[in-house]
Symmetry: C2
Subunit: 119 residues, 2 copies
DNA sequence: CAGCTATGTTGACACATATCGAATCAACGG
DNA sequence: CCGTTGATTCGATATGTGTCAACATAGCTG
């Protein structure tokens, strides 16, 4: 028992977690956290889905708009779930369709971690 | 024999390949290319190794300086090879030790791809 | 309510990858 | 030239991951 911070999935790595890669060597904890964000974008299908949402009008898109990436519908759903778990996307059901939206803070954190190279 | 451009490892995806994720949906080709870069940083051990090199004095470090990440020496070598194949690091042998150095252009490309979020 | 469409979930499988031990290669020193 | 130390490669294995078919769920519409 003890504390309730055990569940890893409830912490989508949104908070400003880690310093730029050039500042000092990351600790094991920081590396696990940061790697999860990069890993989420480390798959071509996920990257295309994310890009489709990010570039869509209004910063959001329903699954029906973005599901044409060459894989089956369950696979699309699977990848969207991964992106959501990584904190990169949020979803909301409005009637028949489910809309996905980009979470800017996590992208900002990734840009921050890349440090001076990203500038 | 024929031409010498057969080896795939000679194309480390350094050139400015892709637009920001928010500009338009990535094509399949672009996504494969971009995902490879993010994937390389999507492992905690690789991230720690890369951070150790990036934050080391002079922007370079020998394997002996950074191999204390909790995995065996062959595993360290394996991950460094992956980072090199992704174009994130370059290596050079000087006497007994091998020195690794950050390739800034790839990091810049990643920052560019993150788009306005990284700023 | 019945049927239809849009998403999500489950189970299974093929493939990739992270890891280690052992062997090998490279440089240095006696 | 041989032994030592650092670094990579090889072989094997366990785990992770992407994928799809089948099924389940949610909401609209008649």
């Amino acid at each position: 028992m003890s504390n309730a911070k055990v569940l890893p999935v409830l912490e989508p790595a949104v908070e400003p977690c880690c310093p730029p890669l050039t500042e000092r060597p990351l600790t094991a904890q920081e590396a696990i956290r940061t790697a999860a964000m990069f890993k989420a974008l480390g798959d071509p299908v996920r990257l295309r889905l994310f890009s489709a949402v990010a570039s869509h009008e209004g910063g959001e898109a329903c699954v029906c708009d973005i599901s044409d990436v060459g894989v089956s519908q369950p696979t699309v759903s699977h990848h969207l779930k991964k992106l959501k778990e990584a904190g990169l996307l949020t979803s909301e059901r409005r009637g028949t369709w489910v809309y996905y939206r980009v979470e800017p803070s996590v992208l900002a954190a990734m840009g921050h971690i890349l440090g001076r190279y990203a500038a």
